[in-house]
Symmetry: C2
Subunit: 304 residues, 2 copies
């Protein structure tokens, strides 16, 4: 009953109005695995790194129940590296450097023991890789979640549409939902995207929360207002980790379960942004998470 | 037990990606009065119009329990006129024309019967006028709500701060909260603004909902996702109308009451944007409002 996570494990160089973090640990797979590890005991992570990636980082993940035998280590090459600079509003950023390095050769081969995992979480990667992973599963997972971005809509729309047609939950942001659907209204965009395959569309809006659309039903989740957002990097991936980690414990993945999953995802994202890199995520525990989940209840409750 | 509303009653010329409405009824006072009239039986409206303003529009408001004897009619002059064009995203707009006309001479003199009203709703006007109105009240209202905008922060900050220091609820948008406080984080901005006087700060975020900050407590209200937003004009004023209309019925204006008031405000705003001008607002009834209030409950409910 493991969660299979496929995503980058990498180095980041991040500049925000509040500071700079050089060559810190990053990557969608890393954030997803760490976040989900607080909600589910068994995570399988598929990725690729260079010989420069610290072995102790993998060991730390192992200690948290993350199996990293699915991470290919290419000793004579470098890990994927991304450098970005956030604008004052923290909602937009410029990419300064993208060095694919080992990621250019990423052609994931799933260990046999991963092929019947219950939950498949496809982090943001080329749609071709996401499809290849789905093709290797020996049974259809109970749940497939796919994260993607506008870049793939620009250069690989057909493959992306094929990938999307095979998943249960798609997570994108509001601009991406508009681009993918050709509709400005998110209600209309969701109707178009739900028809492309995913029963559940989650629209991530950063500091404005998230929206869930499924079969005409809507759920609006807030983001927790944070006194000091230090670094938004990995927030969306932490969200995905919280979502999958929660859903792994559910008998049935229905609208109610996905709603609660979103609150778990938002909770993990709210921790993520409070420090650079995985600084905060690495220090969590069950009590801190429960306390914050209750905050989401608190800030949304009202009487009519 | 009336709500005293002070605000513009005017003509608008509106262009959105979905159409154009020429010389339609607008004005903050109009939207506030109409919206609150569905939640409270007695509204007193103070404003100024020219001889060109249709008497039947005033009569329609009278039919809804809005006393318009506080509206000065300057027969030989024209009403305030605003023309604006919304961008594709509907979140931003350009002002094409602002003809102050009678508004240039607006120096409100409250009818004696208005001076002990329970709720004072100060629509977006020069802070000097907002202060003059407060000065005329013979007893301190149970609740004073003030709406304003960045324009007054730019050109009349001292008067604005004086006005703000005397009110209970301030409603502004997120950029304005940042400008007024000098803090980017809304949590920090709220702490600064709460210290300026208002016990309650409501930050309006349009399609992203609203946030309430008061004494360290936070409430996050969603906006209702709307399939087709036709015209955002007046949404903030309809919000204020719903808020005051609800609070007028409350014994005590505490955090819980303001939360419920915000949901009533968001409900009225969600109707407002569905048609140009007051097209939708004029056609409401108790059942439609109840149904929509329940939608807000529905889209925010989740189990932990």
């Amino acid at each position: 009953m493991s969660i299979l996570v496929v995503g980058t494990v990498a180095f980041d160089d991040i500049e925000t109005p509040f500071g700079r973090a050089k060559m810190v640990i990053g990557g969608a797979g890393t954030y997803i695995a760490w976040s989900s590890s607080y909600l589910h005991p068994s995570i399988n992570l598929v990725s690729i790194v260079g010989g420069d990636f610290p072995k102790e980082e993998l060991a730390m993940m192992n200690d948290r129940g993350v199996d990293t035998t699915g991470i290919e280590i290419v000793e004579d090459k470098k890990s994927f590296f991304w450098a970005g600079k956030y604008h004052d509003n923290m909602n937009s950023r410029d990419t300064i450097t993208t060095d694919l390095n080992v990621l250019a050769d990423f052609d994931p081969v799933l260990p046999d023991s991963y092929k019947d995992d219950d939950i498949l979480m496809l982090g943001n990667l080329t749609p071709e890789i996401q499809i290849k992973v789905m093709d290797q599963m020996t049974k259809r997972p109970k749940l497939i979640v796919l994260d993607t971005m506008n870049f793939w809509m620009d250069i690989a729309l057909d493959s992306l549409k094929e990938a999307i047609s095979r998943v249960d939950i798609l997570t994108i942001n509001d601009e991406e939902a508009r681009q993918l659907s050709g509709e400005y209204s998110l209600v209309k965009a969701a109707a178009v995207i739900n028809k492309m395959g995913p029963k559940f569309l989650i629209i991530k809006k950063g500091e404005h929360g998230a929206l869930l659309f499924s079969e005409g039903k809507i759920f609006s989740a807030p983001a927790l207002p944070i006194a000091q957002v230090m670094d938004p990097t990995g927030a969306g991936d932490s969200f995905a980790g919280g979502l999958c980690g929660y859903l792994a414990s559910c008998e049935t993945v229905d609208f109610e379960a996905v709603k609660t999953g979103i609150i778990h995802g938002s909770t993990m994202a709210s921790f993520c942004v409070e420090e650079f890199s995985l600084g905060k995520i690495k220090t969590l525990n069950e009590d801190l998470i429960k306390e914050r989940l209750n905050k989401f209840k608190e800030i949304t409750s009202f009487n009519l």
